[in-house]
Amino acid sequence: MAEKVGVYVCHCGSNIAGMVDVEAVAKWAGANVKNVAISKDYKFMCSSLGQQMIEDDIKKEGLTRIVVAACSPHLHEKTFRRACQNAGLNPYLCQLTNVREHVSWVAKDKAAATEKVKSLVSAAVARVTHQEPLEKMFVKVNPRTLVIGGGIAGLQATLELADAGYPVTLIEREPSIGGHMAQFDKTFPTLDCSACILTPKMSEVGQHENVTLHTYAELEEVSGSVGNFKVKIRLKAKMVDAEKCTGCGICIEKCPKKVLDTVFEAGMGNRKAIYTPFPQAVPRIPVIDTENCTYFTQGKCKVCAKVCPTEAVDYEQKDEIIEIEVGNIIMATGWKLFDCERIPQYQYKRLDNVYTNMEFERLCNAAGPTNGKIVMRDGKTEPKSIAIIHCVGSRDANFNPYCSGVCCMAALKFGHLVLEKTNAEVYSFYIDMRAPMKDYEEFYQRLLTEGMHFVRGKVAEVNNAARNEREGGKLIVQYEDTLLGKQKRMPFDMVILMGAIEPQADAKELGLKCGISCSMAGWYTERHPKLDPVATMTDGIFVAGACQGPKDIPASVAQGAAAAARVAGMITKGTVMIEPIVASIDEEGCSGCKICNTMCPYNAIEFDEEKSVSRVITALCKGCGTCVAACPAGVITGAHFNNRQIYSEIEGILWDAQPAEVASG
């Protein structure tokens, strides 16, 4: 049966009509394009009158297919599908072809633009006649949410959801929640104590009736899709039975093995082989670091087991994999510090008194290895001069082109702490001082008056090749004072490198497990950088905090709360719609060659061993069509983008370029 296609060419005011002869296109389509029953042009197709016109024509003229030549489908596809639906036509029998963004706004020549529109209309008509009615699918949303990462963003998201009455599972790979914020002493610009504001949140999470907390746990595998994810979590063996442990801490106290703590103490202090990262850890259950524990490395010791009053130490404990079901996932996996050794001219690790920002955080921290005393590596000498070097590994095409955002403020905070705690002179070497958020500029002004020195210039090198007495034994910072246009050298006792904030080393790998992508730099890609900053391209997966880009504490907290709000919305609604643009396999024709199974990154194609055929799990399919293109037997169909539809579109789009002569006849 021949289809009756209605073609509607939009003027979009003068947006399209200014560059395309829309009337001519409409006339041409009506007269020349096969299956076109009606062809019209109209001022604004997306207006209610435009939509009404389509609805009326469907009803009155019995149109079976609709083509609208207007703007991008990303803008108005839904609008015209809705109009069709209102008129009783399946919405997937409507095709919107983009003649504004792709033609009128980019074209230079009206005649050529008009011809291009003709070919796009011809393609759309050819395609739409082969389109098939599709039904939208709805799935239920599991109210439980998985939050990955127990830093401040993850904690905030967890609490928002838990307080709203929804169950949350929070996983954290370290033995305690708290994240980087737990390592800090003070927070800018208010200078309130980090622990004072963080620890109450940590214990709230630890005790919340709606929160299931797994520390020392990592994500193993995610399957399923929005509403119904299945998640496998590896609970790493703590070697301590959480049920029996009271958190008394005597095992830690008695453990004879000291280990350099490169995580929480950033290499500035020690911990024991059985440990909690810090005293206020949540949960308070210690873990045994089996790589360093004497019992595990040498076969004897067992002091911890001997002293434990509840017999909680269990050397036989093994990693355990649990499986949970959740409706949504919030990624709050945070960041890692740039490896400052990668910039050899700053001599980190080669010269003793060059520090990273995280090392200096611990040095300042009242609960840190020096009890908050700012001293040099010898552990006793107070520095008389300190240089703070900005942009170490950020704003640098050799490492990370982006600005880490928070380091300028952190440098000001360091400056303040140095001036408060010591008599040292403190210099900040910056390229641009960035202080854009609330009260930040004021903080900068405050440091100007507190006596911190500011030099505009990226430090060229830190060296110990003294040229004179004054430089002898010092760390010499060589730079250009760009405001004076002069090269200078200045000797210091201590240098602090403001290392860049980088994505976690395994960010890409974890993203792949969850089905979300990363930017070139490795930050998780949000659905829209401005209008949808917490959702991702994968429905049901949200991002919060610095895993999406460098962020300070207030921004991380805000994003954690925002992600939680989005998830809460989904849970409240109860169901979620899934596009019916999915692949399907004709089992009759499938010979079980297993080409397609490897193709799908979402594991949406299962193999039925008994029948020796592959089958698409519709709920998991995202509709990319890669398996369709791969199927050697041609028995996989991609709904709404099947071969017939695309071939027709190609035929239509080349309507004016048919081969000059076909040999037969």
């Binding site: 060589q478 730079y479 760009t482 090269q487």
Partner: protein, 189 residues
């Protein structure tokens, strides 16, 4: 290369960028000063490279070509490897030297004369000839310095480190043909 189109034709900036391989990186300069800080001759420069870049961008052609910056450059490449924007700074210095020599705007330096004397000898023999270079260059440009060089030159002789005659390569014609062609081609540009 896509962004080169943003440079206005006929400007000094365009001249510098188009004569330096990867010169368009210059547009990324953020005036951080790591070049000026790194330079072993930084203290002797009237303008640091960073300042020169700002001047190129604003079209201060005369001042840039008269500056001693490019002549103070010792080709140590510290600025280049440290530049956070991957600007080929040393190569830009060469470009500035070329432009200045071509336009005769170099002042207060004997570097162009040294370069000319050196390459004339290579053009002629195919290899460098130090005694020739020393005598010709110093006689013409730094006669007093030649006197101070005396004792050192004598020591070099006695230790067999200076030759009285130049070495000429066998196929000097071939080299000269190549050089001739190169000059011809670059003349066309």
């Amino acid at each position: 290369m896509a962004h080169v189109t943003a440079i206005k034709k006929g400007t000094f900036l365009e001249q510098v960028v188009s004569t330096t391989p990867n010169g368009e990186r210059l547009l990324h300069c953020m005036q951080c000063g790591s070049c000026g800080g790194s330079c072993p001759s930084g203290g002797d420069m009237e303008y640091t490279p960073r300042a020169i870049f700002a001047m190129i961008q604003t079209g201060e052609r005369e001042a840039v070509l008269a500056a001693n910056t490019q002549w103070a450059c010792v080709s140590c490449y510290f600025c280049t490897t440290r530049c956070p924007q991957n600007i080929p700074i040393t190569d830009i210095m060469y470009a500035l030297k070329r432009i200045a020599i071509a336009e005769g705007t170099a002042r207060n330096t004997d570097a162009p004369a040294l370069a000319k004397t050196f390459t004339d000898l290579v053009d002629k023999y195919g290899r460098s000839f130090e005694l020739g270079l020393a005598t010709r260059y110093y006689m013409l440009n730094r006669p007093l310095a030649l006197l101070r060089m005396g004792p050192m030159g004598a020591q070099m002789f006695t230790r067999g480190r200076m030759s009285l005659t130049p070495t000429k390569i066998k196929k000097i014609d071939q080299l000269q043909a190549i050089i001739k062609k190169a000059k011809e081609l670059s003349g066309k540009k």
